[in-house]
Amino acid sequence: MTAREVLPHLIATALLACLPFLGISNTALNFLIVVLITALAAQGWNILGGFGGQYSFGHAAFFGTGAYTTAILQVQFGWGAWPGFLLGVFAGTLTGFVIGFLSFRANLRGSYFALVTLAFAEVCRIVANAIGITGGAAGLLLGLRPGFTHLQFTDRRIFFLLATALVGIALVVSRWIESSRFGAQLIAVRENEEAAKAVGVNALHVKLGAIMISAAMTAAAGCLYVQNFLYIDANVAYGTWISIEALLAPIVGGVGTAFGPLAGALCLGALGELTKLFADGVPGIDLVLFGIALILIIALAPQGLIGLVRRLWARRARRAPFLKEA
């Protein structure tokens, strides 16, 4: 990977980082932070689902493990927020390894893999709801302690920058996957696992690598979430909402592209806010619109928004010399 290859991704990150200094309101900033957290979870999903073709329906398992680990270490064991954050990402990665090892070694693919991941996430949700260390159904409340060491900031802009930095790292990692040996092998496994094995690809290792990177990113999103809202319970941490948002954003934005999840999360976030503006009285109307958006995207632009832009761009480029002649 050369510097030139990651330039667009670094520029996009820098542009994002400029946003809070354009004098936007705290409400807008809060909304954007949630969008970035969703984007990060979606970027994680995109590594395994987009590049690896393994459609997980249970990324909540990683999101929740990251969130709970961060929260439990702080509330129950008195750890600092930063080590809690790091260990949260590590715990999520480990969860990814365990789920991946069990399901990939059993050769589960396609809808079977999707169902098994969904089951793992649901088991996590039920267990977290029942045991004591997670605070049970009441959940865990992080005390309000502003300060750098507690990862809580009175200035919302700093938290926004932290989220942007993580999204930027995920962008660069996604770009690395696009242009690396590991990525080529991962895409080969997605396209045709048997043929990949025939040319020496260790499909199990490649898929395990992918699910661990994927889980690490989504777990980081979970850690961010709990630091942002300072509260977590089982239905938020391990709820299907995050599994769905994590896969909806890349599918809308462009599966298997570095920018897809971010683009998708921004568009879906904007769509959700706009509908709340116009149809505030109807609960769940934003989900209805998400469903319609998903159907439209799958029918009209199966490569997502990024694919659509690329297609239009290519068509323009093809037409350009034609125009010159005329």
Binding site: R181, A184, R190, E194, A198, V199, N202
Partner: protein
């Protein structure tokens, strides 16, 4: 280079390969022929590791590879093509070949350079940037060959790379196969097109109903009455022999 020692493969009730033994000499082009359903492709799957034999041993070089996974055998230098092309459909031809090249080249530039060189060599130069899903049957066969070749194999297993090609396409591919062999790659090929087997192979094994029924130089094997009967039915050998004396 490759030795199969009484290899048997049974799919529950079906005996696909029965007690087959064969040797592929270092640096040779060996042919494997036989009627449809004889077990040729199953034998290839056993050699490349996609199926594990019910009994018997497979030795590659000095190494017993009987139990090894396909990717491990690919690393040792066994590469196979698929009878029905199995491209990575959603990516370009060049990237397809590069996945093979990545086996021995860790850096992207090296793998891409290698992929381009091999693509040109097998005649895929003009379509390197096209999607693999858009290839014709003949181009798909070439892609199979290119991807296997990109792994820099010591033993190349060709599963009917000529089937489905027209005569002029066959004429184009034959020299490519021969030049691969001239570089020191040992080749074991399953082929139905006898013209190709006769001109390329030094030694031929005939598989029928899972059993090796004959082996030897191509011309000898084709004249063997047992082989003729395996292809044309019982009594055909005698009938042909009688026809020859009558004429």
């Amino acid at each position: 280079m490759l030795v199969l020692d009484s290899v048997t493969k049974r799919f529950s009730g079906l005996l696909a390969v029965s007690n087959a033994s064969l040797t592929v000499a270092d640096g040779s082009i060996t042919g494997l022929i036989g009627p449809n359903g004889a077990g040729k492709t199953t034998l290839f799957s056993l050699i490349s590791g996609f199926e594990l034999p019910t009994s018997g041993r497979i030795v590659f070089g000095a190494q017993d590879v009987t139990e090894e996974a396909p990717h491990v055998r690919a690393r040792r230098g066994i590469a196979r093509t698929f009878q029905i092309a199995q491209p990575f459909a959603g990516v370009s031809v060049r990237e397809n070949i590069a996945v093979g090249a990545y086996l021995r080249h860790l850096r992207r530039n090296d793998a891409m350079e290698k992929a381009t060189a091999i693509g040109r060599r097998v005649g895929l130069g003009p379509v390197l940037d096209k999607l693999a899903s858009s290839l014709t049957v003949a181009e798909g066969k070439r892609l199979e060959l290119a991807r296997a070749l990109a792994t820099e194999p010591r033993l190349l297993l060709l599963d009917e790379v000529l089937a489905g090609l027209n005569p002029s396409e066959i004429r184009d591919v034959l020299p490519v196969v021969r030049s691969i062999h001239d570089e020191g790659v040992t080749i074991l090929m399953v082929e139905h097109i006898m013209q190709a087997v006769m001109t390329l192979c030094e030694h031929v094994y005939v598989l029928s109903q899972g059993r090796i029924i004959a082996s030897g130089a191509p011309s000898e094997v084709c004249a063997d009455p047992i082989v003729i009967e395996a292809y044309l039915g019982a009594g055909a050998g005698r009938h042909l022999a009688r026809g020859a004396t009558n004429a």
